[in-house]
Symmetry: D2
């Protein structure tokens, strides 16, 4: 485990949670004090303040990279050098070029490489994506992913240099991969239109952004990220299809509601804003946020010699979409997603089916309040629209 | 009452609902049969198939224009000629220029002119806007309005010629005015970025659109409209402020849930998709959709010689924003909102307050899971970020 | 308008709200100061500190009795003496005998008498009851009504002498009538089992109660009332039928959610507990709580010479059920509802339909996770249960 | 694993789920065919059609009893005889006496004995109970647990002989233990009042029941169970305390909503009623229903030589409460809970705190709509109530 920040803590708690059979054996931190405290609290045997030593450690089979963004590549290169499997937190890198180097490095070394994009693995998302793949909502036309909270926990997140950007890099990376999961990973993201601004916080990086991603099928992805949201952590996704709709809410409205006058105390959930009034805790935070299913997929794939659902290639695509978003925010127009290495093939446009009635195209077929059924028809030769009650 | 379509029916039901003291005295329809049926069903005394006759009728004090978009201007000109108060359904016109002509015509004639934008008057929106004006969520940074359903009821809506456009003209006009209400009407909409596409229906007009509106304060408006949504009519608004958040749901999730195995029957609510399974009716549809409060404002303003909340000027601004949206969808970049006649004054940028700790800027102040309080600080001289546990 | 308490204020605001054509012309209060302040704030012409004078006033067509429970009978007798229509707030009286005297007095005098049970008239309840009557959920087997808040507004409510009881008299009267509306008013309430206790407040009257009401059809009514609920005012109803389910939420979760850090201020809604954190306002309080539709029914019935949905007879039944509840709380067993004057006829038991498969009774027909369909069968001759996959 | 029904399947999937380190090694079923199919589908090595053989099998460390209720005791006796740890599904037995024999048998043999009451272990319940223990809602005054669905999956459930009863035995056992968890397990259930009826299904056992449980602290437990609910599986709990409120929804409203027009297909979740319209799936069913945390507690306790949260003693208390419920349904009055072996100690009554203002007791302290603050006071010497605006 490289890193003892909040993400390292979540990862470790997940791995040591329930009756899980995988263990963190070695933990690395720049600070010996922090490494030792973390090891003590989490029952870890070995500590190190030297990344390479931690990676090369004989008890280390798999390296979990839970470091700030600007340190991912270096850590990955050490994993490659020592032939250790690497699981890297999100985003994979600070930009597409760096992500591509990580992808190439891992592939050249032939090591197992997993991309720790937890929110694609929330139990709701897994089941929802399965429903979409099973055709339950028809062809996807639109997917919205929203991730907002009052701002990240660690200092480096706020520094555009170290992080590679602001709210897009921190939160948008989740949204992009959630959207891709619904669209189908073979559905190429063609171009991006983004707005970014720094509205509230005294920083250079954007604290608010909205982004549109046009896919080859014609479907539109949309995400909103913010570091200025008030009221907790808002994680919601919406998907529209030709035959249905999906709404998931991962955090603030999950069927758990509590009012407290303020007696008693305690931390309710990550980024909760207060401890009295109406509160909306989640049941099992690491499960609800996808960490459990994510590591199951990673280690099951590793054991089976297979490929996990989220790979470095996915991380590279995500970074490339984010690059296009920043380019668009600067140019104020749509910008292409540059993917020199596209492995997804082609995707057809959403089907616009046609039904006829009396030689005219049926535009709509609806039930009126008074019970009558009404058809809206288009005469393709004249272009005229009319309605008929049938 | 000009028009006997669904909107005319909703207006009439509202005016004749509860213990309301205003009545529809004259109804106009192109078809005598339809006019007579409508009059019979709604207890209206006079019918006419001649617009001017209906407007000039001595029992007509106020004209409600509930006609297709391309007929608004002509009807308004007749109201002006006969000196009758005019209430016009949304959108005011097919484009900004036409809307400006309506505005000028009404002002030149000195008639009372109200813009029937019902969704700004939903009881929830009225109270939410009041909360925003009262400062309960601080300064607004973002507002999202979403209006989607499976497509409109009448044939002319689907004809871009008669309607002036597609889903933006039909639904976006609501969203724009809801967003302006939250932003403050003096907060100028500067520019617009829009995406439109026709993904599903066999028509020319857009059946899906997403639009961003940048306001002078820096705040961002966002709306999504669709004629391809499945599951009913989705009317939701979200507002983010520096001190709070507002979410309103006007139709599909209002605290009324019903499961029916399919025995029994009937129309549940406008645009409901089915009559069995889980259903989400609304209580009093015309009240929930704002019609009651809208007419109260209109007639109270008329009686008091005042100005209603929604005027033709607002309709003109809305049409101008929609023009910019269509321009942006075509040019694929941000387009300015052209308002030759801006009456709103200037608005300052959202305030970015600064707090200091030990000579450094406080970027964030948060509570950790383990109970510690952590400050994220920025050294303005070096640009370095750090965190301190206090 | 007799009474200037919170209920008098709500009634007056409703009558003077929107474009309503009915007006409060005379207001009575024991205190001249209060009467005059109330009249001034609500634009009422005449005030009186003499009940009879207010009732006999030539501008008074209809008397609204908004007084404490122990003063209803006296006020009604004066209405009867002066031949004025009377609308009485809930509960009708302090007990069944007193309610019967009010009923008899009104009927003997031949005056119009309406029972102001607002919660039966919430828009959601009206539509839900209509759905039940239309058969959409089959035969009703169970109805739960819950009304809880942190305690009433006026001193007399807390005094069991003046009020006739505690939370049951204050809140249970609503629940009983809501339940009867779902069960069908001809469905006789046969017997009652109740628990009451004073758990928190320093009073004699019960601050918590739970009550079961068995109806002639076999269906079970259930209500929970409390003056110790924390978090606002909880008004929820649930109905189960052989073909469906209905859930209504009238106050705390109606699709309107607001988070406020505490800047700004103000009253959110009746009995809201705080002004910061997550808040759940309602849109139009008097409409959502049924006041608007209630007065429409009352005055429309009065104008038409008909009978409103809620009559003094209903108030009498409600008081009789509450009498049985208090008797049961004391005897700790089921107690009959004593209704000397039952006007509802008889109701058949809920139908237990039987379907056969291979000569055995089908107890259940279900779909398994693996897709198979399973029948659970009962052999009526042996009593043995078995399952078959078909 | 004894039993290959739905519960055996859920248990096995849980144990073999994620990266869990515990495995099912031997499976028993009366039918060899079923045992072999189950073993094949779940990767289990050994099968047996002889209970004792399965229990005595050298690969069996711990026996999971997933059999119909009337077979629990016999299986447990074999576990005791062979000194194997036993985990028994709910309810522990068909009645209190049988449960006591199981408890005594396990204790006499000194084997580890866990009670598989999954719903007490749902992530939401675990966190909610922790919040209650931490004082966040003050002292508990009321807890409601509701479990309803359209009826159980296996034939034996419907047979009152084999099951020991109907919906109470099937579902009420969950509710009782959830309620006890909120009340505190040392808070003795004193007496019970229950209503049962068979309203819809062609069976002898009750298909609907409502039950009140009075605890030593004065707090009231309440549960509703039904085999006739329409719309899915309704699992909701509500807790009221002197300082707060908790609402949990485990199944039908957990932040996952899907509309499907009916194209595509498949099983959504246990007991879902349909596959089109609005659907409410759960994310990870075995986690949401508590199976994962339950087995973690069981095996962690076993490994540590400790006692799990849910023991046979708890099962015995639950059965005794159910016995009292059936007795009350028959006698139509409150019946005592007979617990010869009470291990919980005594619990004090809920505290009724008193605050004074000007020598009088403060009954309520509230904020009025107009901003004024009002105290409701009681003069303890005269018993008179009054209000003061301060």
């Amino acid at each position: 485990m490289l890193g003892t920040g909040l993400i390292g803590l979540f990862y470790t708690r997940t791995l040591h949670g329930q009756r899980n059979r995988d263990r963190v054996e070695v933990v690395y931190s720049r600070s010996l004090e922090r490494a030792e405290a973390f090891a003590r609290e989490n029952g870890i045997t070995s500590v190190s303040t030297d990344i390479e030593e931690a990676i090369a450690h004989p008890d280390t089979d798999t390296v979990v990279i839970g470091l700030p963004n600007h340190l991912h590549l270096e850590a990955l290169e050490l994993c490659a050098a020592h032939g250790k499997a690497a699981l890297c937190t999100k985003p994979l890198a600070r930009n597409g070029a760096e992500a591509k180097r990580m992808l190439d490095t891992a592939e050249d070394a032939g090591i197992f490489a997993g991309y720790l994009e937890d929110l694609v693995y929330t139990p709701k998302t897994l089941k929802a994506v399965q429903a979409v793949r099973g055709g339950q909502i028809g062809q996807v036309t639109w997917a919205r992913s929203r991730e907002t909270h009052p701002g990240p926990h660690s200092a480096w997140f706020w520094d555009a240099e170290q992080a590679g950007g602001g709210a897009i890099v921190d939160l948008g990376c989740h949204c992009i991969e959630i959207i891709r999961s619904y669209m189908g990973k073979g559905n190429r993201p063609l171009e991006v239109m983004a707005w970014t601004d720094t509205l509230v916080h005294p920083i250079e990086a954007e604290d608010n952004a909205i982004c549109l991603i046009r896919f080859e099928s014609g479907a539109m992805g949309q995400f909103e990220v913010s570091w200025t949201f008030r009221g907790g952590m808002d994680l919601r996704d919406e998907v529209a299809g030709t035959e249905g709709t999906i709404w998931t809410n991962h955090f603030l409205r999950t069927g758990f509601e509590m009012f407290s006058s303020g007696e008693g105390a305690g931390y309710v959930a990550e980024k909760a804003e207060s401890a009295s009034g109406w509160l909306f805790p989640v049941g099992d935070e690491v499960a609800e946020l996808g960490y459990v299913d994510m590591f199951t997929d990673m280690f099951d794939s590793l054991d089976a010699g297979g490929t996990p659902t989220e790979t470095f290639y996915d991380g590279y695509v995500v970074n490339s979409v984010m690059d296009a978003a920043y380019a668009s925010a600067a140019s104020r127009q749509w910008e292409p997603v540059r993917l020199d290495d596209w492995r997804g093939g082609g995707t057809e446009l959403i089907t616009r089916t046609k039904r006829e009635h009396d030689g005219r195209t049926v535009v709509k077929d609806e039930q009126m309040p008074d019970g009558r059924r009404k058809l809206i028809l288009k005469d393709e030769s004249t272009g005229a629209f009319s309605d008929v009650v049938v």
